[in-house]
């Protein structure tokens, strides 16, 4: 239990690369969120005497984001001494009050009502904190059970949870399926409210730019509530860019190739704090071997059995300097960085050794001893990342992985070079590969991702071909996955070319040409000489190995023109290829803005780590103060697999 609620260390560490930049300070935001929850708890009038203890029951889904904001010590100061999950509901003798903290899901509300029914003879106080607030069905269920008298209900909005120095996430896991597929605009309210709170703390936005219908609704919410913001002299936020997920689904479904993205893809980062690696451990025992001849007895080591051990590794973007440097690079550059860092640590050790042999007096030894912990800490971090990179290399060096990336890039490359008749060739080779994956029973979501990319880019023109793929899919993965295919078709990710209604998010090749989404690296590929290590590190645009996401190109072109800015007509005409509303709104503010004001990019519907990395490379490319100092907001951090699962 304590591991899940470990303390959150928010000290910003200074690395040489980031010395000159202005880091966005998220500690104020955390303090605000902490005070909000504690004011709710204080309103319960809980006695702080030691003999009265409070138990906090947390939804397991939100225990991760919860631990990013609150620490156990803070909870103890407020009288909360016990933390438990809904699965482990029990009462100690000293418990006087119980606080339920959960998103209002029906199964949890039922558990709460059953628990209160059982414990009626005990005179306990019950409180429910609903995130973001109690919806109608949960309220109806509690009312029908007759529990509204026992239960005091409050609402609390997590809002934005800081995952990195420049990354906030609301962690609404089912946002896309509710808002975009089922067209339920209920959750857009909490997004608007979160932006108002953010502006109350850091200052108002000057401009709101957006693409997409849901972004338009959010901007209208923000405009309505703008009067709640007090006048602030100096604002840190200048521009808000709202982009719907449906504008471009391709980079989400493609395989992420940055270091952080690959970790999330293959190993799964949980709440940006830790990862779990399964290792095969060979247990060796000495076995007494007695051969038929009467030779002396020998001992042999044999592999008796193989056990899997789960190892938890800390992976903190706040305190890990190496991870900060490396997480946005393409994975092919990471071993080079590891090697360079290992060399620098080795040189540091050598210097310490030399100075050790020349020491004469105690003060000098004291100075030397103070240097050793820093080197040891760096060494531990490097060992950690070496282990992670080794684990990733096992999976990355398989043939299937290479072929998957080849197929993805082939589909994308085809979009920007539309030759006569070769569309069919690419589609047939892609479908052959997908058929091959299905026959070998590869993970289902891998197949679905490739199929979705194929439908959204090149397209499947032959109806029979498409139906054959679906038949073999259902045949291999089971008839129960029919609902998965139907949901994907409803969401617009799968479908035939002839059905224009279904594939509403299909990108046109004109769009690829307008924004130059595929980089032509003829210069690089034609050079026969060996590439230097430094040249690889300079290729910051290669987050997807030659493909730049559309969102990155839109933002790059919008922020590039300092005077015209987003009012550029050519940009607007280019964006007309996407059949979704585009809007620019100027807000009435009295605040001052300077070169250090940040631009906030909000992804409505989720974002993957690699897309954030491709936007961070814009900052490295153009430098600080030219409009590319980004803060990222999103409804949830996702990758292709859990995006399809949540549909």
């Amino acid at each position: 239990m304590n591991k899940n609620n470990k303390s959150f260390n928010n000290e910003e560490s200074v690395s040489p690369e980031l010395t000159g930049s202005v880091m966005f300070d998220s500690t104020d935001w955390i303090k605000l969120k902490t005070l909000q929850l504690f004011s709710i708890i204080d309103s319960f009038k809980i006695s702080l005497f030691l003999d009265e203890q409070v138990t906090l029951v947390i939804d397991r889904q939100i225990s991760g984001p919860f631990s990013l904001i609150f620490t156990l010590q803070q909870l103890n100061e407020r009288g909360i001494h016990n933390l438990t999950y809904f699965e482990d509901l029990k009462v100690t003798d000293k418990t006087k009050s119980i606080i339920f903290l959960c998103r209002p899901r029906l199964e949890l509300i039922q558990k709460i009502s059953q628990f209160i029914q059982q414990q009626k003879q005990n005179s306990l106080k019950y409180h429910l904190i609903a995130i973001p607030n109690l919806d109608a069905s949960s309220n109806y269920l509690l009312e029908s059970e007759g529990l509204l008298d026992y239960l005091k209900i409050e609402s609390y909005d997590f809002g934005f949870i800081p995952y990195d120095n420049d990354l906030f996430s609301m962690e609404i896991g089912d946002f896309y399926s509710r808002c975009f597929v089922e067209n339920d605009n209920y959750q857009l309210n909490s997004i608007g409210k979160s932006f108002i709170k953010l502006q109350q703390l850091y200052g108002p936005f000057k401009t709101i730019v957006g693409k997409g219908s849901k972004s338009l609704i959010i901007s209208e919410h923000i405009q309505q509530l703008q009067t709640l913001i007090p006048p602030i002299e100096q604002s840190k936020l200048k521009t808000l860019i709202l982009i719907d997920r449906t504008v471009d689904l391709i980079p989400l479904l493609c395989t992420q190739q940055t270091y952080q993205g690959l970790i999330d893809e293959e190993i799964k980062i949980s709440n940006s704090q830790s990862i779990i690696i399964e290792k095969d451990i060979e247990i060796r025992e000495q076995v007494l071997v007695s051969p038929p001849t009467q030779e002396p007895k020998k001992f042999e080591e044999r592999v008796v059995r193989i056990e899997k051990e789960k190892k938890k590794l800390p992976l903190s973007p706040f305190s890990d300097l190496f991870y900060q440097q490396v997480k946005d690079l393409s994975f092919s550059s990471v071993p080079t960085m590891l090697y360079l860092n290992a060399q620098s640590i080795s040189n540091g050790m050598n210097e310490l050794k030399k100075s050790n042999s020349q020491l004469l007096s105690l003060p000098e030894i004291k100075k030397l001893l103070s240097k050793i912990p820093d080197v040891n800490k760096k060494q531990q971090l490097l060992e950690l990342h070496t282990e992670i990179v080794q684990e990733l290399l096992k999976r990355v060096n398989s043939d299937d992985f290479h072929q998957k990336i080849s197929i993805e890039f082939e589909m994308l490359f085809q979009m920007s070079n539309n030759f006569i008749g070769s569309n069919g060739n690419t589609a047939s080779s892609v479908l052959d590969f997908i058929e091959n994956l299905i026959i070998r029973k590869k993970p289902m979501y891998q197949v679905l991702r490739l199929l979705s990319i194929c439908c959204l880019t090149v397209g499947i023109k032959d109806q029979k071909q498409y139906e054959n793929i679906l038949k073999s899919f259902i045949h291999v993965y089971g008839i129960q996955e029919m609902t998965t295919l139907m949901r994907l078709e409803k969401a617009g990710l799968l479908g035939n070319n002839n059905n224009n209604n279904n594939l509403k998010f299909k990108l046109s090749s004109q769009l690829f040409k307008n924004f130059n989404l595929i980089i032509d690296n003829n210069e690089n590929s034609s050079s026969s000489g060996k590439e230097n290590d430094n040249d690889k590190l300079k290729e910051y645009d290669q987050v997807y190995q030659g493909y730049i996401p559309l969102i990155t190109r839109i933002i790059e072109e919008g922020q590039k023109n300092k005077q015209q800015g987003w009012f550029n007509k050519s940009l607007e005409s280019k964006l007309n290829c996407i059949d979704q509303p585009f809007f620019i709104k100027e807000l009435q503010t009295t605040s001052n803005y300077d070169i250090n004001s940040f631009t906030m990019v909000m992804f409505v519907g989720g974002v993957s780590f690699a897309e954030i990395s491709s936007l961070r490379t814009l900052k490295k490319k153009y430098g600080r103060g030219s409009g590319y100092d980004f803060i990222f907001g999103t409804t949830s951090l996702i990758n292709g697999d859990n995006f399809l699962k949540n549909l």
């Binding site: 080795s346 030894i365 490097l382 070496t386 990179v389 990355v396 490359f413 030759f419």
Partner: protein, 95 residues
């Protein structure tokens, strides 16, 4: 007169002993460098593994480029053939 000198000498000797002890301890501590050299070797090996990650994309580009060139050449050949079929009878007719 001789007692203060002896005390100072004793203290100096103690300080020297402590210095030597710390000297040796720090030396042992720094001998953990083997780990770092192991890390260096590991990361050097991993460099080669990650190279493949990148080469693949360049190969795809060449492949696609060759395919497109091939297709263009086929189209040009067909067009030229059609022109030849049309022009040659005309030329033969007038000779």
């Amino acid at each position: 007169m001789s007692e203060p000198v002896n005390k100072v000498k004793q203290t100096q000797q103690q300080v020297d002993d402590v210095t030597n002890t710390m000297h040796i301890a720090v030396g042992k501590m720094l001998d953990n460098q083997q780990k770092v050299s192991e890390l260096t070797d590991k990361s050097e090996n991993m460099k080669q593994g990650a190279q493949q990650f990148k080469k693949k994309t360049n190969e795809i580009k060449r492949l696609m480029w060759c395919r497109n060139i091939k297709l263009t050449l086929i189209i040009i050949a067909v067009v030229v053939l059609l022109l030849v079929v049309i022009i040659v009878p005309i030329v033969l007719k007038f000779t």
